[in-house]
């Protein structure tokens, strides 16, 4: 773990959050970017940042990285001011932008050489190892690579110097399913190493599998921060059960968290939120021919919060 100590007034040592924002606000002229975003990500945590397009995810990340200047509020990374100390902060982080690019002509190897020189790193063994794992081609000009293959190079540049904080903006966009799995494995390894990870994503499944907590942003405002298991527990899953014979629906309706129960012959469809165990037990009292469980889509997760949050 890369714990950053900070002396408190009493003289004891407290560990500062890896990321801490206080009423962080960014307006583009009269257009809202993010508004009064207060957030804390602990060191060693994998924090997912979910929101629809235009919600303010990228604005938040770019403000944290000092690419955008906040209209008001503040952001601190490892206790350092995101504006004043941006160079010192960047020495400790790795960043993968949403659409990685480094010019059309440069190869991945050239981009790596530039970044290694800027970071004062002579050996790039870790980068070569990552390139093998991700099957990334570092020899071809980036302009000739597909978006997914460019993202692989971007991932290598974000990870090769073993940073203390990783900031990923939609990291798996363009990656094929195998590489997405490899990415998630890398995230787990980095967490094991003690790295803090801030991951903006559209993929609920991806977030569920690697994140400890999730922040949900809507219209530039952070509307919820939840542990991943709580988030999934709150969201409704779609269930479709085909029984051997028609069943009494009241039995299912009586289960906590069950709603929208509909029967079509011997097939019963309903939604369930929270604990699934009573539902499974109720179903198991009958002969089940087929059972389908659909995870909620990201939009449905958002709806759960949108319906609660007054606009």
């Amino acid at each position: 773990m890369f714990l950053t100590p900070r002396a408190s007034r009493s003289g004891s040592i407290a560990h500062v959050p890896a990321i801490e924002t206080e009423r962080l606000t960014k307006f583009y002229g009269s257009h809202r970017g993010i508004e009064e975003l207060t957030l804390s990500v602990q060191e060693g945590e994998v924090f997912g940042f979910l929101g629809p397009n235009g919600a303010g995810k990228t604005t938040t990340i770019r403000t944290l990285l000092d690419l955008l200047h906040p209209s008001s509020g503040s952001a601190r990374i490892f206790g350092l001011d995101s504006r004043r100390d941006s160079v010192a902060i960047r020495a400790r982080l790795g960043n993968l932008p949403g659409d990685f690019g480094f010019g059309k002509h440069a190869t991945g190897r050239e981009a790596l050489a530039v970044l290694a020189r800027l970071r004062g790193i002579e050996r790039t063994d870790r980068a070569q190892e990552l390139a093998r794992r991700l099957r990334a081609d570092l020899t071809r000009p980036l302009g000739q690579l597909s978006r997914g293959n460019r993202q692989k190079v971007g991932l290598i540049l974000a990870l090769f110097h073993r940073p203390e904080l990783l900031v990923f903006d939609e990291p798996t966009s363009g990656l094929d399913p195998l590489m997405q799995e490899e990415f998630l494995a890398l995230v787990r390894e980095e967490r094991e190493r003690g790295c803090t990870i801030f991951l903006s994503s559209h993929e609920l499944d991806e977030v569920q599998r690697v994140c400890d907590r999730v922040g949900i942003i809507r219209d530039g405002r952070l509307i919820a921060v939840e542990r991943v298991e709580d988030l999934v527990g709150r969201t409704q899953r779609h269930v479709s059960v085909e029984f051997a014979a028609p069943v009494e629906l009241d039995e299912l309706r009586a289960c906590p968290g069950v709603s929208s129960v509909q029967a079509e012959g011997v097939t019963v469809k309903f939604r369930v939120a929270g604990d699934i165990d009573p539902v499974v037990k109720a179903i198991s009292r009958h002969t089940v021919v087929d059972l389908e469980f659909a995870r909620p889509t990201l939009e449905e997760v958002f709806l759960t919060y949108y319906e609660e949050e007054p606009r």
Binding site: R90, G94, P97, G101, V114, R117
Partner: protein
């Protein structure tokens, strides 16, 4: 900083050939044909209107230096290299922002000022390489045709373009402090480049408007290939370019990096 300069030069490694080679070959051709057209040219020029000769810096064209100045160094080379300077600096800043390169560079522990300074220094080096390549090819043309172009005169002529072009690179940096759209930066500063040339031209054509020439950097450009470099103008324009680049760096540091 050195790493950034090397990276920038590497990104634009084709530029000396794509700009220096055509300018150099053209200069070599101009110098090379001079001995064969010298006498006819002198007779023809004597009949040119005085205002035309004054406007385009055409003397009697009785020497290869005068001819090189009239054909290349009074208009084509300064405008072309000035435009290259804007292109180079906008590629390093606004172009890098558009391609995502800037986001990646700024994930490393470097300041925006360092990136601007590196872009400016790399542009200065690139311009120097382009001008020296053009100079060498012009000298080669002179040697092959026996035109007798003095090296020191040619060196002064080509080198004198450097501060002028650097000033437009600096204006390009100031423009990126306002917008990160490469097409706007390049178009606006190229417009200023042509505008300054026209301003100087009008001032030379109409002596009553001579005062407006002070608003143009071409007022301080002169005829170095014939008269040598004016150190005061050379240093003054270079210092102005550096000062403008510094202003641009401050603007660039203060702005949001979103295209």
């Amino acid at each position: 900083m050195i790493a950034l300069v090397i990276a920038q030069l590497n990104e634009r490694r084709r530029s000396p050939l794509s700009w220096g080679l055509p300018l150099g070959l053209w200069s070599a051709f101009v110098v090379g044909i001079y001995p064969s057209i010298e006498s006819a040219l002198s007779k023809a020029v004597r009949n040119y209107p005085h205002a035309l000769k004054e406007a385009f810096g055409i003397g009697e064209l009785s020497t290869v230096r005068e001819y090189l100045h009239a054909e290349m160094l009074s208009l084509i080379v300064p405008l072309a290299v000035g435009y290259l300077a804007v292109r180079a600096v906008s590629s390093a800043l606004s172009g890098a922002a558009e391609s995502g390169r800037l986001d990646v560079l700024l994930s490393a522990p470097v300041s925006r000022r360092a990136i601007v300074a590196a872009g400016f220094i790399a542009t200065a080096i690139e311009l120097l390489i382009v001008l020296l390549l053009a100079l060498l090819l012009a000298m080669l043309g002179s040697a092959l045709a026996g035109a007798g172009l003095p090296f020191s005169s040619a060196l002064a002529g080509f080198l004198n373009v450097w501060p002028l072009a650097l000033l437009f690179a600096a204006l390009g940096i100031v423009a990126t402090g306002v917008t990160l759209r490469t097409s706007i930066v390049t178009g606006a500063v190229a417009g200023v480049l042509v505008g300054m040339y026209v301003l100087d031209l009008v001032g030379r054509l109409d002596t009553s408007l001579d005062g407006i020439r002070y608003a143009s950097v071409f007022r301080y450009y002169g005829k170095a290939v014939e008269e040598g470099i004016d150190p005061l103008s050379f240093i003054g324009v270079t210092a102005t370019a550096v000062a403008l680049a510094a202003v641009g760096a401050v603007l660039f540091e203060r702005r949001d990096l979103s295209v």
